[in-house]
């Protein structure tokens, strides 16, 4: 039985050995459960409106790409302009496994992780060899090369039209419920990514990532094997982005290179990261919902987002390098570095 106690300025909930404290004053409400509960309520409230559920799912997929990307940018100290490469690798692996071999989503997830891991390990050396602009240029080109590859091998990848008939992520027999459950799963995936990256960045890995981001030569001089950490970070984040691609393929049931691999998609992902602020994983969620909503409303006007998105990105890069979310956090130190508070003991 849950016991509720009212103590000074807080409620204490007890269930056996479990204890949860709730501060009454709203300015101390920094509880993630509120945000999660609100999102779940929003999704449940929108059941029966598949277009809006798809919109939320798209936002969650953007966040699933942007969250590991934010970690990657910090942990490698490099700007990756081609995160969609791993969306493509993950998505195509899932799609091909599902269509040609008839694999279900969970079997294809295993294969997606393996293939993404292989490609990530192959490309991870780039974080050591290429610096600054060269890394950005190479990563910018790789998805475009992959897009050309899908066009050349049109019979396998169906470059122009995309692959369709991919097994759905969930099928309970009712389309409305499928949309609802798919949307909740996308939220779950996004929250898992958020939790994992948050835990990593608040550990000693976060300190290493921050040190590499700030000055990798000094980090190396202080005894950090920067190459190892950059390779591991790039590999792990790339696999996570690959999983986002897997989810997109199985959720929508179709996967086309022309949707995910061109520069337009990269611009959207970068916009999500830039709105959140570089390295701000919670900002990525805000950015993802902002971009998805903006895209949704702009498509009603016409294909104006092709011009508007790069324009907003340029403005953000020039005027607000910390992102829109950074405006809110301007008075605080960067959240992606672990907050290390040590109090001096009074003697």
């Amino acid at each position: 039985m849950v016991k509720i106690e009212h103590k000074r300025a807080r409620f204490v909930f007890r269930l056996g050995d479990l204890k949860l404290e709730w501060t009454i004053e709203p300015r101390y409400w920094r509880n993630h459960f509120i945000a999660i509960a609100l999102l779940i309520l929003l999704i449940l409230g929108l059941s029966g409106k598949p277009d809006l559920l798809s919109l939320i799912t798209t936002a969650n997929i953007y966040a699933c790409i942007a969250i590991p990307l934010a970690w990657q940018m910090t942990g490698t100290g490099r700007m990756n302009f081609g995160p969609q490469l791993f969306v493509g690798i993950g998505g195509f692996t899932a799609a091909l496994a599902s269509i040609y071999w008839g694999w279900n989503p969970w079997q294809s997830l295993f294969l997606t992780i393996l293939v993404s891991l292989l490609f990530a390990l192959l490309l991870s050396r780039l974080t050591v060899i290429a610096k600054g602009l060269y890394f950005s240029l190479i990563t910018l080109l790789l998805p475009l090369i992959f897009l050309e590859f899908t066009n050349i091998f049109n019979r396998v990848f169906r470059g122009e039209t995309g692959l369709s008939g991919i097994a759905h992520i969930i099928d309970v027999g009712d389309i409305g419920r499928n949309y609802l459950l798919g949307c909740l799963m996308s939220l779950g995936l996004m929250l898992v990514f958020l939790y994992v990256v948050d835990k990593v960045l608040r550990s000693r890995w976060g300190v290493y990532a921050a040190a590499i981001n700030d000055n990798e030569n000094v980090a190396n001089m202080l005894g950090l094997n920067i190459n190892r950490y950059k390779i591991v970070t790039f590999t792990m984040t790339s696999v996570m982005i690959g999983i986002a691609g897997w989810f997109a393929a199985h959720y929508f049931g179709t996967f086309a290179g022309v949707t995910y691999l061109p520069l337009q998609f990269m611009l959207k992902v970068l916009l999500v990261v830039m709105i959140g602020g570089r390295g701000e994983i919670y900002g990525c969620v805000v950015g993802a919902y902002f971009v998805a909503l903006l895209e949704h409303f702009l498509t009603r006007i016409g294909p104006i987002h092709y011009i508007l998105f790069p324009f907003i990105l340029l403005l953000l890069l020039l005027a607000l390098p910390e992102g829109l979310y950074g405006l809110y956090r301007r008075h605080r130190y960067k959240e992606y570095y672990p907050t290390l508070k040590v109090r001096k003991r009074e003697i």
Partner: protein
């Protein structure tokens, strides 16, 4: 013997920044490394700390040749350094700057994040920067940055600490505090120090022995007073004409 440098050379194109330099550093010493601008002092420290790879010669640290070893391995062996122009992690707080040194420096078994924080706090307190532990490094003053660099270098538990022009840009009061601090660190942590400095008064008072470089070559070595009166050293700093007139 802690460090033995034998016939080390390093060139950048046609310029030989370090040309056949040899000297030893014994445990517990403070060795001063002086020379006019462009003498090759910082290049030599970069060679010792592993930022550059020597073109020739040997650098033995505790019997291990460290030429060609990556910087992090040299740090793990026990060599740490500060920079002429402070290079903190600007977006990290002072304590996080030092925690990097604690976590990444010499390997310590079962070092938890909390232990690392505690040790970093201790390092900050030693250099007198504990009060600024939660201030971003980019918001610290030059003197505080210099002490932060010392704390960070100390956090890696070095045997040999290379201090590169710690007095640059400090006023006389701050310089005095810095010298006292370095001496205290040497005593408390049993450090050996290779100290590069332009301020002659400081280096002659603080060091046990001085090595002098000019145009990449070693031109003199010995106790501070002997070196300071050496006509070759005076000539290198003030010109041969002045050295001759002083002799006459």
């Amino acid at each position: 013997m802690l460090l033995k440098i034998e016939n080390v050379t390093k060139g950048f194109g046609a310029v030989k920044a370090v040309d056949g330099v040899s000297f030893d550093i014994h445990e517990g010493e403070i060795v001063g490394l002086i020379g006019p601008n462009g003498a090759g002092k910082t290049t030599l420290t970069n060679l010792i700390s592993g930022l550059y790879k020597a073109d020739g010669g040997r650098i033995d640290f505790l019997g291990t040749n460290i030429v060609g070893l990556p910087q992090f391995k040299i740090c793990h062996l026990g060599i740490s350094r500060t920079y002429q122009i402070p290079q903190p992690f600007p977006d990290l707080t002072a304590i996080a700057n030092v925690v990097v040194g604690v976590l990444c420096g010499k390997h310590r078994i079962n070092l938890s994040f909390g232990d690392a924080l505690l040790e970093a706090s201790h390092c900050l307190e030693t250099v007198g920067l504990f009060g600024k532990r939660n201030v971003l490094a980019k918001d610290l003053t030059l003197f505080e940055l210099r002490t932060l660099e010392l704390a960070r270098a100390l956090a890696t538990t070095p045997k040999l600490m290379i201090i590169d022009e710690v007095m640059a840009g400090l006023n006389p009061g701050q310089s005095l505090r810095a010298v006292r601090l370095i001496r205290r660190l040497k005593e408390e942590y049993r450090l050996t120090i290779l100290w590069i400095e332009h301020v002659m008064k400081v280096i002659t008072e603080a060091s046990d022995r001085i090595e002098v470089l000019n145009y990449g070559k070693k031109i003199a070595e010995g106790p501070p007073k002997t070196v300071m009166n050496d006509p070759i050293v005076i000539g290198a700093y003030l010109g041969k004409k002045y050295a001759r007139s002083r002799k006459a």
